[in-house]
């Protein structure tokens, strides 16, 4: 038997994966001589212990929701968009450049214009990969990664060559009416970097949910993701659908970058590495198994891990990279969900009698359960 792509999942798979991932982190901390319990406690207090911390967590989650949604849309079309970081960078550059270009424009034009510029730039950047995949069959895994590095070095050259003053490594700060951070929010959260971008993210969640579930385009995207040949046979333009999915995906990633530019940084800097919101957004989406509401929850969790992780290295000498190790481990277990399903069947002493109705409504779960049971029986006969 040959199988491909086991990507279904549900809430308890995600929760189990998070627990197992944190367990792996704990073991690594133990092996390197740190106290995992103390560290997880300081992670937690660092994430929710004060209004400032909560503000920072929400700020961290804001772009992650957008890049996570971006990954999910592309993934629905059967597309593995790991170019989110480059698309976000394109969006960051475009939004800041737009804001700097019109310093005297009123806020109600400048701010939406800058956000829109970021979205368009991100969409164009991922559109390249979508076009190459649709018309030439070039693997998006490689093209988007290469475009990431092109975006990184090109952006750095533009910032250094055109935007920075003198020999600096950063652009001037954007005009005050283009900023998403306001004194009101700073006052509310003890001077955190929390900004209004969270509203953009939440709006995007609703729009993406509506787009994927209620529109023809969303249906076509999902159909192409499930079976490209069948969709073409049914009369859908698969090329157009693939490119649309990539444009939407990049548009969302570009918005995520714009949130960094207009909210978090309020300028653009020369980056030594790709912005982490790209790969973290992908992890958020994989953990949430593509569900828009799940993406919000997963983004909040990752925001807590990232912001709380900073507190770990303040309270002890543990390197903050432990958080990224935990995130990678979590995604490892999300991917290996077959293992979790299999073990849960093994651990259950008296397996439930298969219900005809249940297996009709959840064919995938039933298949997995049956496969697990078959393996169990196979071992018993040895």
């Amino acid at each position: 038997m040959r199988i491909k792509n086991l990507r279904f999942g549900n809430l308890w798979i995600s929760v189990t994966s998070v627990i197992l991932g944190m367990l792996v982190g704990a073991i690594i901390m133990l092996l390197s001589g740190f106290n995992p319990i103390e560290n997880y406690v300081s992670l937690f207090t660092g994430a929710v212990g004060s209004p400032n911390a909560i503000g920072e967590v929400l700020r961290e989650a804001t772009p992650l929701i957008l890049t996570g949604l971006g990954f999910a849309v592309a993934n629905s079309a059967g597309f593995f968009n790991i170019g989110l970081a480059g698309q976000a960078l394109a969006g960051w550059l475009a939004s800041v450049t737009f804001a700097l270009a019109f310093p005297h424009a009123p806020g109600f034009i400048l701010l939406p214009g800058a956000i829109l510029a970021g979205a368009i730039a991100g969409a164009l950047w991922s559109g390249i990969a979508g076009f190459l995949r649709a018309y030439f069959g070039a693997s998006e895994v490689i093209t988007t990664i290469m475009l990431n590095y092109v975006a990184l070095y090109a952006t750095n050259a533009i910032v250094k060559g055109f935007l920075a003053k003198g020999d600096g490594d950063y652009s001037p700060t954007i005009p005050v009416q283009a900023r998403l951070r306001t004194p009101f929010l700073e006052h509310l959260t003890q001077n955190s970097t929390f900004h209004w971008g969270i509203l953009v993210s939440l709006a995007a969640v609703v729009v993406v949910w509506w787009l994927m579930k209620k529109t023809t385009l969303g249906f076509e995207i999902r159909a192409v993701g499930m079976n490209e040949d069948a969709s073409r046979y049914a009369g859908m333009s698969t090329k157009r659908t693939i490119i649309s999915a990539m444009l939407i995906s990049g548009c969302l990633a570009g918005l995520g970058g714009a949130m960094e530019g207009l909210g978090n940084f309020q300028n653009i800097i020369v980056n030594t590495a790709l912005p982490s919101i790209g790969f973290d957004g992908m992890s958020v989406s994989l953990l949430a198994t593509g569900s828009p509401v799940g993406i919000v929850l997963a983004a909040l969790l990752f925001g807590m891990l990232k912001i709380g992780g900073l507190n770990i290295s303040i309270a002890s000498t543990t390197p903050p990279e432990i958080v990224d190790i935990v995130i990678a481990a979590v995604i490892f277990f999300v991917g290996a969900n077959y293992l979790i399903r299999y073990l849960s069947v093994k651990l259950r002493r008296h397996p439930r009698q298969p219900e005809a109705v249940a297996s009709d409504t959840q064919p995938e779960a039933a298949v997995a359960e049956r496969a697990a049971q078959a393996e169990e029986e196979g071992e018993d006969t040895k």
């Binding site: 992890s283 390197p319 432990i322």
Partner: protein, 319 residues
Amino acid sequence: MNITTLLLTVVSTTLVYSAPMIFTALGGTFSERSGIVNVGLEGIMVMGAFSSVVFNLFTADIFGAATPWFGLLAGGLVGVLFSLMHAVATINWRTDHIISGTVLNLMAPALGVYLTKLIFAGKGQTDIIKQPLANVTIPGLSDIPFIGPIFFRNTSLVAYLGVFVAIFAWWVLKYTRFGLRLRSVGEHPEAADSVGISVYKYRYMGVMLSGLLGGIGGAIMAESITLNFSVSTIVGQGFMSLAAMIFGKWNPIGAMGAAIFFGFAQSLAIIGKYIPVIANIPNVWFTLAPYLITIIVLVAFIGKSQAPAADGSTFVKSR
């Protein structure tokens, strides 16, 4: 700069930059020929680079000039261990190959920097190694008129080793029992299984070979080019190796040729300013060149290359 010196610089720099990708692309070939897609080559290279640098820093006083060569072995062994994560996930636990490979890419830089900070008292990058893989002049061959000075003077020995490994890998895959079986589990695992070949065993060997060669590739990168380990030691070379493998049609010799071509693209950033016609182009274009060339090559040649038939699928043995 006269023409011989220019060619010498171009050839030796190209070879230095191709060597890591030759080994890694060969690793990818073994993995994918057995049916396991390995986008985790980038992460494997990171772990290979990290472990070779640490090994080099700590044992340079013991092994002297032989240290970098042992460092390659250290990088390869750690690469094998790291690739086991991909093997068990994709072969036994039915993980999507792309997701599992991506986990390797997420895990490696985090783990590498975490361990670096642990070993070197909180510093995010290591010191410069004392015993790098230096360029050598091959006695005898370098005395051949014209060709000798260009190809064999002050050149990268490890790149030539890579060429030999590529030829050996081609022979192994084409003519040996091991190679035939490895290819059969990548093309039609059910058929291989029906004649008693263990699909799982050969797929494990394919992935572990990719770990060995990818780890060595990362070690070469660190010990001959960056000379230390940091988060920016490996910047896309793993993915370029993957593209080289596709460009080389999953054939070791082809992968090697493509890797040398990509090595040339990478070396442009160093040698571009010496080549008269393109010397005035801003430096950023040379930095971008390897990435852009990879995309162009991928687009131009994708239709002409065919992946192993069962590449990317998970085999479940029926009972």
